[in-house]
Symmetry: C2
Subunit: 185 residues, 2 copies
């Protein structure tokens, strides 16, 4: 039996969001730069970069946009999101300090989300995305979850590619090594 | 500066292999079936299935094949690997018990690998893969690392897809939702 895809559920969403910092820590903490600074090529993200990008999301994307929606003003337009904010921000930082910071920010954001005690109607409130226009709070929160999981997948893929030349004929059995040959970061 | 892809290194490899069980636990432990049992469609793996598949790898693939190589016999042919062994094996099991079992098997296998104190020449010893023929111990061990990371990426992708219908227009910004539309499991 193939289960149906889930419909959005706030508790189901926060269960995943709460686990991401620990998952990154378990995967990455203590690894040498060879694993955490490797990329998929020029202008693509390393595991270090992705962690910084997730921090940017906590500070400038998901919860700030939810606040704009919940403020209920006449023009709930989101600020454009800077996907490269982390590059200048995190020069000289260690991955360990970014992992700690991401975990703290996430806890605080989930505490805030919980404190709103959102009910069904509120999830349908609109915001205006700078690229694709009208979205709902429900879609924003679902996208936050998917964004996390997409970046966990990206980190694993970027790490795997550091061994692309080492697996010999296994290459054809390991799609993770050839996924996103032109990555979108 | 884009770092060079890594060349195979035994210590670098075991650093990743040692982290995978903890990463799966951090990502999955305590989640409800809606996240753990969701798939990408008929005949594809859920997070539960992938965990079972990784256990199969510990019991029947990587270390058993390394043993065949190191035995140095005249025909170091690997047993074919059953990618669906876990389906019958794990009926009635909980994910928690699989996560525990995977962690125990992995520790034991890494202890064994360490006990061999492999040196450079041994890494070039050959085995015969049932599909693509001659491979080396070095390639086998590199493939073990990549296999782990590919399945971490798969778990994150399969979970993300449970919300594919929920993100609205973010779909176009989230390649994880459309990767592997015809998954190879």
């Amino acid at each position: 039996m193939v289960p149906e895809a889930m419909t959005f559920d706030l508790e189901r969403s926060t269960e995943v969001l709460a686990r991401t910092p620990g998952a990154l820590r378990a995967l990455l903490s203590g690894l040498p730069d060879a694993w955490i600074r490797g990329t998929e090529g020029p202008d693509t993200f390393s595991a270090f970069d992705v962690t910084g990008h997730l921090i940017d999301g906590e500070e400038t994307d998901w919860i700030p946009r939810a606040k704009i929606i919940l403020a209920g003003g006449p023009n709930p337009a989101f600020e454009p999101y800077d996907r490269f904010r982390h590059r200048a921000r995190n020069v000289g930082r260690t991955l360990e300090s970014l992992l700690d910071e991401f975990a703290s920010l996430r806890v605080a954001n989930l505490d805030l989300l919980h404190s709103w005690r959102l009910i069904g109607d509120q999830l349908e409130l609109p915001g205006i995305h700078p690229t694709f226009g009208r979205v709902t709070l429900r879609q924003l929160l679902a996208a936050w979850v998917v964004h996390d999981l997409g970046h966990v997948a990206q980190i694993a893929r970027v790490m795997a590619k550091q061994y692309k030349e080492e697996v010999g004929p296994w290459l054809e059995f390991m799609p993770v090594l050839t996924d996103h040959e032109r990555p979108r970061s």
